[in-house]
Symmetry: C2
Subunit: 221 residues, 2 copies
Amino acid sequence: MAHFSHHSEENYLKTLFKLESRKEKKVNNTALAKALNLNPATVLEMVRKLADRKLVLLKPDKAIQLTEKGKNRALLTIRKHRLWEVFLVEKMNYKWNEVHELAEQLEHIESTDLVDRLDNFLGNPSFDPHGDPIPDKNGKITNNISVPLSGCTEGKSYLVINLIDTSDAFLQFLGKLNIMPGIKIKLLEKVEYDNSFSVEVQKKNVQLSEKVAMNILVQHA
Amino acid sequence: MAHFSHHSEENYLKTLFKLESRKEKKVNNTALAKALNLNPATVLEMVRKLADRKLVLLKPDKAIQLTEKGKNRALLTIRKHRLWEVFLVEKMNYKWNEVHELAEQLEHIESTDLVDRLDNFLGNPSFDPHGDPIPDKNGKITNNISVPLSGCTEGKSYLVINLIDTSDAFLQFLGKLNIMPGIKIKLLEKVEYDNSFSVEVQKKNVQLSEKVAMNILVQHA
DNA sequence: TATATTTATTTGGTGTACCAAATTTTTATT
DNA sequence: AATAAAAATTTGGTACACCAAATAAATATA
């Protein structure tokens, strides 16, 4: 009856897009397999199918590269995922850390029209509850707008852009931790029970309260 | 990675429930296969798996019967389907006749919690946009509340309960067609281009305008 | 009852997406 | 260059959900 080929296809493309975005180095079969938590043999087989469908290119140096078509598909999936996350948090009253699994399911609903309506219904948000940017219907990502560190994603690195609270007390406090615009911060963990933030600044781990994190504006680095 | 077994399982159970509700006669393999538009061999194989999982019983006379467990699962799926339909119509501004395909996808999202929140968000509706009742979280269906014939389902039979417009002209008009409380009506077709309704009343086919259909209150028969 | 028809069941196959284990190829290191 | 390590690839499987066609069993009809 129904075919779910698009389901796993979307997962591959989405993951590939994310790996390519980090562009630390070329994405090879091993990296993709590890990111998808699948056997390399499986991934190789699927990647070849994706190549047949003109969604990826298999470079001579074994790099796996999204084509334009593949990138668009990936962006659509990411758009769906992030919009559903906004829906779950804003309308269904879930907390930001509870929505990933559900969004993982909802992102595979097939209908660009529905996503566009959802986008509208939610007031065309630019960021999801984790602070990640939501591609618009053309796949364009509003990037580099600074957001509070408190809304950011665990495990990602950010560049401090600005501080909301500019009181002397606050600036001195941050100064002691070496946090200031231009400095790179990695968000290690959002601690549940006291809403505090574990971050890494210049090789050192420090703990920031929610109030502090809300006053630090950062960009994706 | 993900397993979609629940997907087809839910389709079988849902269809089985609907066939059993019509209880014209026992549901056999052929009937189920025809309803699902699948090969009888496929259906037999799957029904046996469902029996292993204690979701259906295979009676000695070859009848396929839902167990309590199976019925609950079917009702949950129907609940999900109908609530998503309400969502699509009320919040996403789709028309009632555009939502079936999408709801067919959304009904397979796995999370009873999400459905319950959705139910709440939508104001705990008792009927979907087609006029079909929505099971509550315990699987209970609010039945026998009369609804306008205009919101009913093609192919189903209804009992006329009441008339909204009680003007003489309307009653006389209906009288000529033998439509009155207590009479049984089968909704044959909702005609798209003029929003009229093809119905069968006492073996005769008649055409009702939308205005007329909106003024006839019926119950599921 | 014998025959025809319908329904159930079996058999052998398909495509998708996955895996483990063995092998080959590539890359790095000594 | 020789060897060790890592990555790519091949091979032979699995489970799920489907199908067409053949056969068996049950039911209906002449």
